[in-house]
C-alpha cells in the first residue's frame, strides 16, 4: 500500500520541483517522503505581505486515498488556521469527504496560498477571527499585519 503511495508522492515531488508554484518553496525532503516542509510567501496586497510562513505537510500512509494534513508552523492571524500550537487547517479538499484520490498536493498548496489572499470566513476554525474579518476588516488587517511582522520573519 505505502509502496504505491511512495511512487505517487515521488512523482508529485518531481512535478512540483520542475514547475514551482509562485510564492511557494518546497524544501528538500531528508528521509521521510511523507513529511514535507513548505514556505509560503505572503501575497502582495494582503495583510500577510512580506511574511514568510512555514508549513508542514504530512501525507497519510493511505495517501492518496486520504487527504494530506496541512498545518502552519508559523503563527498566523487567519480565520481558517487554528490559533494554537497546532496551526491546523481543515477545509475544502483537506476534508476527507471532499478529497478525491485524483487531487494533488499542488492543489492543496494553491488552496493554502489562495486563502492568504482571500480567507474563507464561512468555513472558519477561529470564529472570533472570522467575525473580525467580516465586520471589522480594518482591525483584522491591522492585527494580521502585526502578527506577520512579529512572527513570519
Amino acid at each position: 500500500m505505502s509502496g504505491s503511495a511512495l511512487k505517487r508522492i515521488t512523482r508529485e515531488f518531481a512535478e512540483i520541483s520542475a514547475n514551482p508554484l509562485e510564492g511557494v518553496v518546497i524544501f528538500p525532503i531528508d528521509a521521510d517522503m511523507f513529511k514535507w516542509n513548505i514556505e509560503l510567501t505572503g501575497p502582495k496586497d494582503s495583510p500577510y505581505e512580506g511574511g514568510r510562513f512555514r508549513l508542514n505537510l504530512t501525507l497519510p500512509e493511505t495517501y492518496p486515498f486520504k487527504p494530506p494534513v496541512l498545518s502552519f508552523a508559523t503563527k498566523i492571524y487567519h480565520p481558517n488556521v487554528s490559533n494554537d500550537d497546532k496551526g491546523s487547517m481543515c477545509l475544502g479538499i483537506l476534508r476527507s469527504d471532499a478529497w478525491k484520490p485524483s487531487c494533488k498536493i499542488v492543489a492543496v498548496l494553491e488552496m493554502a496560498r489562495g486563502l492568504l489572499l482571500e480567507p474563507n470566513p464561512e468555513d472558519a476554525v477561529e470564529n472570533s477571527i472570522a467575525m473580525e474579518y467580516k465586520n471589522n476588516r480594518a482591525n483584522f488587517d491591522r492585527i494580521a499585519r502585526e502578527w506577520t511582522r512579529s512572527y513570519a520573519k
Partner: protein
C-alpha cells in the same frame, strides 16, 4: 399469601413482557389492583387494559433490520410498477430522491431522461460494467503504467486501475461509511458510483457492508424513522412526530431492546423537558461544569458533626454514621423537618429584590438559582446511577429473600419492579429541574411544583424502603408494592400535566422553546 398479592402476581404473570410494562408504555397494568381502593383519581386513568393514550405518550413502532429492508422493498416495488423500470433502477432513483416517492414520480413524469441521467442511470445502464485493459494506460492515482493492467471507468470516462478504484471504494464504504452517494474518484466529477460497479469491484465483505449502509441511509433519509441509539442495537423506530412539533411534545419511545430514548433528539428519555430546553440545559451545565463539579461532589459533611459522609444508596435520607444525625442530602436540612412538612426542598425561593439590585449580587443570585436547580438535577442523576447499582444487587437480594423467606422467584419480582420504577422516576425528576429552571413562574407553575414535590417525596420513600436489609424486605413487601404503584402513578400525573401544558402552550419559558 394475601388475596391482594395473588392479584398482583397473576397480573404480573399474564404480562409476560414484564420489561415493556415497566417502561410505562403499555400502561399500568400490573399494580393497579393494589392501589384501586386508595386512589380513585389514578384508577380513572389506568383501570382499563388498553388505556387511552396519555398526553405524554406518542405512537411508535420498532423496526428490525428486516422490517426496514422490506419497507424499502415495498416502496421500490411500488415505484417500479408505476414507472415500469426494474426494481434495481428504482432503488437508485429513490435513493437519489431521498425516498421522496411522490416527488420522484412527478419529476420523472416531466422528463425521464434527465432524472435517469442525474441519478447515474444514463442510456446504456443496462450494459454490465466490466474491467478493461487499455494500451498505454497510466493510472492517475498510483501512477502505475504496467502493460496489461486491469482498469475501470464509469460512463464519465475517468479511468483508473482496478486496484485503485477498489481501494477507493472500499475505504469509502468501510472507513467513511458511505454508500448511496459515493462519487467517481476523479476530482470535480459528481457521478455517483452505481451498485453494479461496486459489486464488480469490491470484496464480498465490503459489498455486504455496502448493502447494510444502504439500509441505513433509508432510515437516515426518512423523517419518520430514527435508529435506536443504544450501542449495537439494530432496531429503528418509526414515529410520526416531526421536528417542528418538538416544542409541543416530548416524544419518548422505547426500542425493542428496551432502550428508552427521545425520538426528537436521540438522547435518553428526557420527559417532561422539551428537546430544545434539554439542549440548552446540557450546554449550560457543560459551560458551568466547574461550579457544577463542585456541587455534584459525591461527599458531603454531616451538618452536625462535620464528619465526611459518602452517599452509597439512591435515597436522600441520610444518617450520619458517627453522630446518627438524620438529614436530607439535597438541602442538608434535618430529615425530621421533611417528615412533617414533607419534601420542601424542591422549590427555589427567589431571593428578594433588595439583594438583586446591585449587579454583582444579581449575578450571584443567578448563579445561586442555577446551582439550586443543577444541584437537584445532578442529585437525581447521581441517585439514578446508585439505584442502578442497587438494581444489580436486587437479584442478589431476591435470591437471598427466596432462601430466607421461602418465597418463589415470581413472588419476589416486586423488588425488580420497584427498582425499575425508581430509576424511571429519577430520570423524570432529574429533567423536571431543567424544565423548572427555564419555567417562568406564574399561577400554572404551582401545580407543576406540587406534582414535582409529590413525586420526589414518593421516590425518596420508595428508595428508602428499597435499601432495607433483606430480612426486613420480606416484611415490607406489601408496603413496597403499594409504594411502587403510587410512585408510578405520581409520575404519570406529573407527565400528563406537563404534556398537556406543552400541547396547549400553557407554559411560558424564559427562553425560546
Amino acid at each position: 399469601m394475601s388475596s391482594d398479592d395473588e392479584d398482583f402476581m397473576s397480573d404480573t404473570l399474564s404480562d409476560d413482557e414484564y420489561d415493556n410494562d415497566s417502561m410505562g408504555m403499555l400502561g399500568e397494568t400490573a399494580d393497579e389492583s393494589e392501589y384501586e381502593e386508595e386512589n380513585d383519581q389514578f384508577l380513572e386513568d389506568t383501570k382499563f387494559d388498553k388505556p387511552q393514550k396519555k398526553a405524554y405518550e406518542v405512537d411508535f413502532r420498532a423496526l428490525s433490520a428486516n422490517d426496514v429492508k422490506s419497507e424499502q422493498d415495498k416502496q421500490i416495488n411500488e415505484v417500479s410498477s408505476i414507472l415500469g423500470r426494474s426494481s434495481e433502477q428504482c432503488a437508485i432513483l429513490l435513493r437519489h430522491f431521498k425516498w421522496q416517492k411522490e416527488r420522484l414520480i412527478e419529476i420523472y413524469m416531466d422528463g425521464p431522461e434527465q432524472v435517469l441521467e442525474e441519478s447515474g442511470l444514463g442510456q446504456d445502464y443496462n450494459i454490465s460494467p466490466r474491467l478493461e485493459k487499455v494500451a498505454g494506460f497510466e493510472c492517475g492515482i498510483c501512477c502505475d503504467d504496467e502493460p496489461g493492467l486491469d482498469t475501470y471507468s464509469m460512463k464519465c470516462d475517468h479511468r483508473y486501475c482496478a486496484s485503485c478504484y477498489r481501494q477507493y471504494l472500499e475505504s469509502k464504504i468501510k472507513e467513511e461509511g458511505e454508500a448511496a452517494r459515493i462519487q467517481c474518484p476523479s476530482e470535480g466529477c459528481a457521478r455517483i458510483v452505481d451498485s453494479k460497479t461496486i459489486k464488480l469491484l469490491v470484496s464480498s465483505d465490503a459489498w455486504y457492508r455496502y448493502e447494510e449502509l444502504l439500509n441505513r441511509t433509508y432510515v437516515d433519509d426518512k423523517q419518520n424513522l430514527r435508529w435506536c441509539p443504544a450501542p449495537e442495537c439494530e432496531y429503528a423506530v418509526d414515529c410520526p412526530i416531526r421536528q417542528n412539533e418538538l416544542h409541543k411534545v416530548v416524544p419518548t419511545v422505547v426500542c425493542n431492546c428496551s432502550h428508552r430514548f427521545c425520538f426528537g433528539c436521540g438522547l435518553h428519555d428526557h420527559q417532561p423537558c422539551p428537546c430544545s430546553l434539554v439542549k440548552k440545559w446540557l450546554k449550560k451545565c457543560e459551560d458551568d461544569s466547574e461550579t457544577a463539579n463542585w456541587i455534584s461532589a459525591h461527599t458531603k459533611e454531616c451538618p452536625k458533626c462535620v464528619s465526611t459522609i459518602e452517599k452509597n444508596g439512591g435515597c436522600n435520607h441520610m444518617t450520619c454514621r458517627k453522630c446518627k444525625h438524620e438529614f436530607c442530602w439535597v438541602c442538608m436540612g434535618p430529615w425530621n423537618e421533611h417528615g412533617t412538612s414533607w419534601y420542601n426542598c424542591n422549590r427555589y425561593e427567589e431571593k428578594s429584590g433588595s439583594e438583586a439590585r446591585d449587579n454583582q449580587a444579581k449575578s450571584r443570585a443567578s448563579l445561586e438559582r442555577y446551582l439550586h436547580y443543577y444541584n437537584r438535577y445532578a442529585n437525581h442523576d447521581h441517585s439514578a446511577k446508585l439505584d442502578k447499582d442497587l438494581y444489580s444487587k436486587t437479584e442478589k437480594k431476591m435470591t437471598m429473600l427466596q432462601s430466607t423467606s421461602g418465597m418463589s422467584w415470581i413472588e419476589v419480582q416486586y423488588l425488580n419492579q420497584a427498582s425499575a420504577v425508581l430509576q424511571e422516576c429519577r430520570q423524570t425528576l432529574k429533567w423536571t429541574y431543567a424544565f423548572a429552571f427555564y419555567l417562568e413562574r406564574n399561577n400554572n407553575t404551582y401545580i407543576f411544583e406540587d406534582n414535582q414535590k409529590d413525586l420526589e417525596m414518593a421516590v425518596e420513600q420508595l428508595s428508602e424502603l428499597f435499601e432495607k436489609p433483606p430480612d426486613q424486605l420480606a416484611q415490607s413487601k406489601k408496603e413496597m408494592m403499594d409504594k411502587t404503584a403510587y410512585v408510578k402513578s405520581r409520575r404519570g400525573i406529573l407527565l400528563e400535566d406537563t404534556a398537556v401544558g406543552l400541547k396547549n402552550e400553557r407554559w411560558s419559558f424564559t427562553v425560546d422553546v
